[in-house]
């Protein structure tokens, strides 16, 4: 029986565009794998039960909770974290807007917030403030009161829409 199940699992995936091969413990979640094994400490391990959103990363094109996905499940996946999205300049305008609007104070929630906001923005269109709030409702920020975060995301949505028209 036990030979069917492994306590260590081999995975091959790409992280921020780089191929990664690893042997991971069966119960390890993605965030611990990214942080402890790959040194990618941008996404945070916080509540570890899917409530706070600080661990939000992009897996196969969509935002996911890094704490609710096992590293063992990531075989073949394409994973992006805030580090990779920063390096490729995919979210530079969003990051600049967060700074300009004071959309972060301690910064703990910011990597997850950026990944979640980018998912909404990349869907196209110009989301309303209510739609922005709804899309970010799973990402807790204990500093800003959210208003500045919504401001930042809204300003980028409008700027990107304007660029598209030009």
């Amino acid at each position: 029986m036990t030979e069917m199940f492994r306590d260590k699992v081999d995975v091959a995936l790409t992280v921020n565009g780089e191929p990664v091969e690893a042997r991971v413990p069966a119960g390890q979640h993605m965030i611990d794998f990214l942080r402890l094994d790959l040194g990618l400490t941008g996404a945070h391990a916080s509540c570890e039960h899917g409530v706070c959103g600080a661990c939000t990363i992009r897996v196969d094109g969509v935002s996911v909770r890094g704490c609710l996905m096992l590293a063992a499940q990531a075989d073949g996946a394409e994973v992006w974290t805030v580090e990779g999205l920063t390096d490729t300049a995919a979210i530079t305008d969003l990051q600049d807007a967060f700074v300009a609007r004071n959309a972060l104070q301690c910064g703990f929630c910011t990597p997850g917030m950026l990944v979640a906001a980018e998912e909404l923005l990349s869907a196209g269109g110009t989301p309303s403030r209510a739609e922005i709030r709804e899309h970010l409702s799973g990402n807790y920020c204990r500093c800003t009161g959210y208003e500045a975060i919504v401001d930042a995301v809204e300003s980028v949505a409008k700027a990107r829409a304007g660029k598209g028209d030009a």
């Binding site: 069917m4 899917g50 799973g138």
Partner: protein, 277 residues
């Protein structure tokens, strides 16, 4: 906290998954989207499981319509259920429910089969299945069987699934012309578990009302259904509040939940009537 798993195996196909469940002798645990299971593992509410990962079984994913029945594969993710054109047109209750389920990142990964098999009494999809009169399809070592939603949900996190069975799909009757399907819920914040929730379906042959987060399992409010069929809304609210026995917890008292159930029924009926005009 950190999860503790005794082992992990990736299923190659459904047969393989069932063989592994049988071989695990009761220690096996089916892993699909993981949005409840991994959280429970991290909190050590579930520890030492032998995980059977079925999330790669593409044959269990997707929506199809055959005649008057819509079949939704167990691994169809919440976001896919919400966006699917067949679901939106023919099972609008499920599409509407998706907006109430957790948050975008969780809807991207959680699966409808997982939500049904997990049977959280506060979850939307189990109550939807009940209101729609869905059939739940499962497969085990002896083959497949179908279980009516009314017999599937037994208690808190407890269903008619046997230890070595896997939920493979649900099928629901496609909405007939003029059918209306509505969901109403009250939660403290967007994405939170409902304090109380209600699904209302109106078909030519009568109303169906199912509630969630007001008891140990989703509840079909047959008394309220009979009263609605007779056009008696006050009677339906009275019946509804007497046929549920909601719990008190840190989120809401039993009395408040009972009150909310009546409010939600009135809201849903008001929307029905708005729809008719």
């Amino acid at each position: 906290m950190k999860a503790s798993a005794a082992g992990y195996a990736r299923a190659e196909n459904l047969r393989h998954a069932i063989e592994m469940l049988v071989a695990s002798e009761g220690e096996g645990r089916v892993l699909a989207g993981g949005q409840s299971l991994v959280a429970a593992m991290n909190m050590r509410l579930s520890a030492g499981d032998l995980l059977v990962d079925i999330s790669r079984l593409n044959e269990l994913s997707g929506v199809s319509q055959e005649g008057d029945t819509v079949r939704i594969g167990a691994l169809t993710r919440h976001a896919q259920v919400g966006a699917d054109p067949i679901v939106r047109a023919r099972v609008p209750l499920l599409a509407a429910a998706v907006a109430h389920i957790a948050h975008a990142a969780i809807r991207n990964r959680g699966t409808i089969g997982g939500a049904l098999a997990h049977a959280d009494p506060a979850a939307e999809f189990p109550a939807c299945a009940l209101a729609l009169g869905a059939e739940i399809h499962v497969e085990g070592p002896e083959g497949d069987r179908s279980i009516p939603a009314e017999d599937f949900f037994e208690d808190v996190f407890t269903t008619a699934l046997e230890e070595d069975e896997i939920l493979t799909a649900l099928s629901v009757p496609a909405a007939e012309t003029g059918e209306v399907q509505l969901i109403e819920e009250v939660a403290r914040r967007s994405g939170d578990y409902a304090l109380a929730g209600l699904c209302l379906v109106r078909r030519a042959k009568g109303h169906r009302v199912a509630l969630f987060s007001v008891g140990p399992k989703p509840i079909l409010a047959t008394g309220a259904m009979t009263a609605l069929d007779a056009g008696d809304v006050d009677g339906a609210v009275a019946a509804l509040t007497s046929e549920i026995d909601p719990p008190s917890d840190t989120q809401a008292s039993a009395a408040y939940r009972r009150h909310l159930a009546g409010v939600l029924l009135r809201r849903a009926v008001a929307r029905l009537e708005g729809d008719r005009t």
